[in-house]
Every structure is written in structure tokens, then in C-alpha cells.
Symmetry: C2
Subunit: 265 residues, 2 copies
């Protein structure tokens, strides 16, 4: 069964099979805010196979953002809308796939490519379109680089907001297929490459080094400003996929070394 939700499709059937195979009686469902209005489409299939379902009320900002409190109270936690980032027992994923056509914006984007070796990247919703995009670009004479990324990356060419390991740095420039500015800006910052964005909703735009330099200058400005401060708070995220205690300790030590008051929050 493939459930259609506007343009995002979800393969709920595989998750149902997996839940049944594990003999799970109570399941939790966790999903990003944008999908919460359609929650019954995810809850009912599991109730129909006899599961007791509890929905997470917490915000969910990625595959690394696991509701561990809910996980403790259920047999299986079904995480909708993202792919696996960190291995956590008893969590299964229902990934989204967009059925929006990307051919038009990809062909449009070709006009903006200046190099010949192109690293192809996208977000989870479009990973199944990678082959189609490769074929379009090969026909136009480009050399395509599509990399696997590290262990946090589930699909070839996939980027996360925090992870651009699937961008092959041997490229001349990067083509990003997908919506939004957050991911391609991250690619530009992480790689220093020019990024051409093929956005099926808002068309093609280019992120060049001028744009990233402006952002970096802003960030340095903020850091410069903070140097006058006498008291610092360090926010320590405790989410399973986002916690970085060593970095917190390092910053704490830096503060103390420079005689700043400091607390960990």
C-alpha cells in the first residue's frame, strides 16, 4: 500500500510488516510538524493490525531526533519523514518520496552549470530521482559524481542539514535537487563550491562564494561581539543524535581559561 499525501508518498506497508514481524503490541509514532495534520493516515493502519498507538507530542527535526522517552514506553517507535541517522534499537523509519517532477528544473539548471565534473546531491524526498537526473546530465555531456557519504547517510547523494559527507569534493561544482535554502547553503559553506539549486517549486538559483562569505562575515561579527561578554551560557543538546559532550567541555574549559563566568544549560 502506498499512501499519497499531497505530493509525498509513504510506504507504510513495509513498516506494518516489520511491526508485525517483531510482534509489537504498542507502537509510538514520531513525525515532523509539517505532517502532524495528517497523523490519522499513519495511526489507523497500525491500529487496524491491532496495535495500541501513542503519538509523540515533541517536535521532530530530523532522523537523529528520537523521542527516547516515548521509545521507553512502547515496543517499537515508528519515525515518519526522515531516514536513519544513528542506530537506535526498536526504531523503524517510514521515509517520504516526492512525486513532483524534477525534469523541468534540472534541465533549466544545466544552463547555470559552469564546470564539467558535477557532484549531484539531494534530500531524502528526491533520492529516487537520482538516476533520472544523472541520465539527463550525462546526455548533456557532464561527468557526474554521486557519493555514498558516511554512516549517517542512508542514500547515495543524500545530504542532511548537518551532514554533507555525500558531496564529492573532487567536483567543479555542485547540483542540488530539492526545495529550500538551508541544505544548499550548508553545502556551499561546507565545501566552498558553487552550488546550483534545482528547486522544483521555485525554480533555479545559484549560491556563489559571495553569498557564503557574507554569512561567514556575519557569524564572525557575532563572535566578535560576544567577546565583550563576561558571562556565557553553553546550551548542551541531550538528544540522542545531537549530543556533543566533548565540545561542551572544550568550550567550558575555554571560558574558564579566559576568566569568563560560564554555565552549562
Amino acid at each position: 500500500m502506498v499512501q499519497t499525501m499531497s505530493v509525498l508518498e509513504f510506504n507504510i506497508e513495509d513498516a506494518l510488516v516489520e511491526v508485525a514481524k517483531r510482534g509489537a503490541e504498542t507502537i509510538g509514532i514520531s513525525l515532523p510538524t509539517g505532517l502532524k495534520r495528517r497523523i490519522f493516515d499513519f495511526v489507523h493502519p497500525f491500529e487496524e493490525i491491532g496495535c495500541k498507538v501513542v503519538v509523540s507530542g515533541k517536535p521532530c527535526h530530523g532522523g537523529c531526533d528520537i523521542d527516547v522517552e516515548l521509545l521507553e514506553r512502547v515496543d517499537v517507535l515508528v519515525h515518519v519523514g526522515h531516514s536513519k541517522v544513528v542506530p537506535v534499537e526498536n526504531v523503524i523509519y517510514i521515509e517520504p518520496r516526492s512525486n513532483v517532477d524534477v525534469k523541468g528544473c534540472v534541465e533549466e539548471s544545466v544552463k547555470h552549470l559552469k564546470g564539467s565534473r558535477i557532484a549531484l546531491t539531494t534530500i531524502l524526498q528526491y533520492v529516487h530521482k537520482i538516476d533520472e537526473v544523472v541520465s539527463i546530465l550525462k546526455n548533456k555531456g557532464f561527468e557526474l559524481l554521486v557519493s555514498s557519504g558516511d554512516t549517517r547517510i542512508s542514500h547515495k547523494g543524500q545530504v542532511l542539514g548537518c551532514n554533507f559527507s555525500a558531496v564529492d569534493k573532487a567536483c567543479d561544482e555542485v547540483l542540488y535537487v530539492g526545495e529550500g535554502g538551508f541544505h544548499p547553503l550548508g553545502i556551499a559553506l561546507a565545501t566552498g563550491k558553487r552550488v546550483v539549486v534545482a528547486d522544483p517549486y521555485f525554480g533555479v538559483r545559484v549560491i556563489d562564494t559571495q553569498e557564503t562569505e557574507k554569512l561567514i562575515r556575519k557569524r564572525y561579527g557575532m563572535i566578535w561581539k560576544s567577546m565583550d561578554a563576561e558571562t556565557f551560557g553553553i546550551i548542551h543538546c541531550t538528544k540522542v543524535g545531537q549530543t556533543r559532550p566533548k565540545v561542551v567541555n572544550h568550550i567550558h574549559n575555554l571560558c574558564e581559561r579566559y576568566g569568563k563566568k560560564c554555565i552549562v544549560i
Copy 2:
């Protein structure tokens, strides 16, 4: 050592002694948003006796609102600004006491009292003023009722936003000493009595049955409106002092009995 923060005083010394007695090395500090700007006043005394301190970044809406995640990572959790509501191991409390004078507003409030048997109530900040208030009212010829409340109540005459067990219902009416409308409105709703509010900041006001009836009518209006709904979400709070799984199950069963779609969040 009594630390003065504007008009709220905190006996940090007792907590320091308690922490030292338990040999706690790492402590967590949890406090309501209104006190967060003064966090260093609470952190430093504990750092000075050699503790490693982590501050809770979660909102904290009462003595029942324990940051259990932080509690798991520290030896002792110091909860600032509230009194104990539910017994949780390794949590100690630093209660606030207001040094604002209440004599003026209490004397003013006497003019608005109609009955002779008065139940005296207040919030944590003013519990140390109870004897003074009793003496003022006795001199004016009133009979005073000051009750202990149930196990969630730490001080005689104290009310919480959710607990009015320390209001003796044998009274003619209630005198509430303290700021805010939330607590006295709760008293009026819970007891059906007329409540005279002696507010040291905004003066005296009276909450009569007209006001509570209006609110109850509004609530019934919301319930009436919801009866057309086909889908219901039940928000299940999992905080240690606020979780009520039996009520959740009861509402869930009610929804199903009346053929409504329903999810627990």
C-alpha cells in the same frame, strides 16, 4: 546566607549543607523562567563548594515539574522557586520568600469581607506571613481557618494552581494573600466560595460567583462546540507530577464508545 533577589529571598545555605552532606559531586539546577536571568546567583555557591553544575534548559512550571532527564545525569537536582509536590529521590528544594509588606493590602481587604469565618490561603512566597495576617484579622474579630492540605502541600494555607486542598470549606468566604489571578480564580472554581484577593502589588479585588459562572459557561461552550468533531487528540502529559494515565484511558474509551476517531499524543 540569605540571597536577596529583588523582593524574593532564597535560603541557599540549607541546600548547600544538604548537598555537602550527601557528598554530591554533580548537581543540576532547575528553575522557573522568571528566575533564569539570575541563574549565576544559584550556580556559583554550589561551584564554590566544589560541585560541577548543570542548569536545566527546560521550562519549569511548578514543584511537580521535575526534569527527570537531568536528574538521571546528576547526583542531586536542586529545584529553585517551588516547594515539594511529589516525593522524588535526590531532589531538594530552595523555596522563595517575599519580603514585600502585606499588611497594607490585608487591612484594605478587611473592608470587603462579608462573612465571619474566613479561610486564609496564600502562595509559597507568603507562607511565612500567615501568622501576621491571622493576627491582623483576629484583632478585627474574624474567625480564621488555616488548613494543612493534602500531601502535595508543604505549608499551612498554601495553594497551588492545581491544588486547593488547604482551603477549609467550612468557611463563609476565602481570603487569598498574594499576586496573580490564576490561584484565587482556581479557589473560587474549586470551592464555590467568594474570594477576596489581597494583592500587595495591585491592591484588593473580589472574585464572586458571577465571575466564575462566566468562566464555567465559556468552558461548557467549548465542550459543546467540540461535540461536532469527528477526530480527537488526547494530550497525555508525561511529567512526573502531572501524568494521569487513567484519565487518558477513560477519555480514550469515551471517544471510542461514541464512535469518534481518537489518538493519544
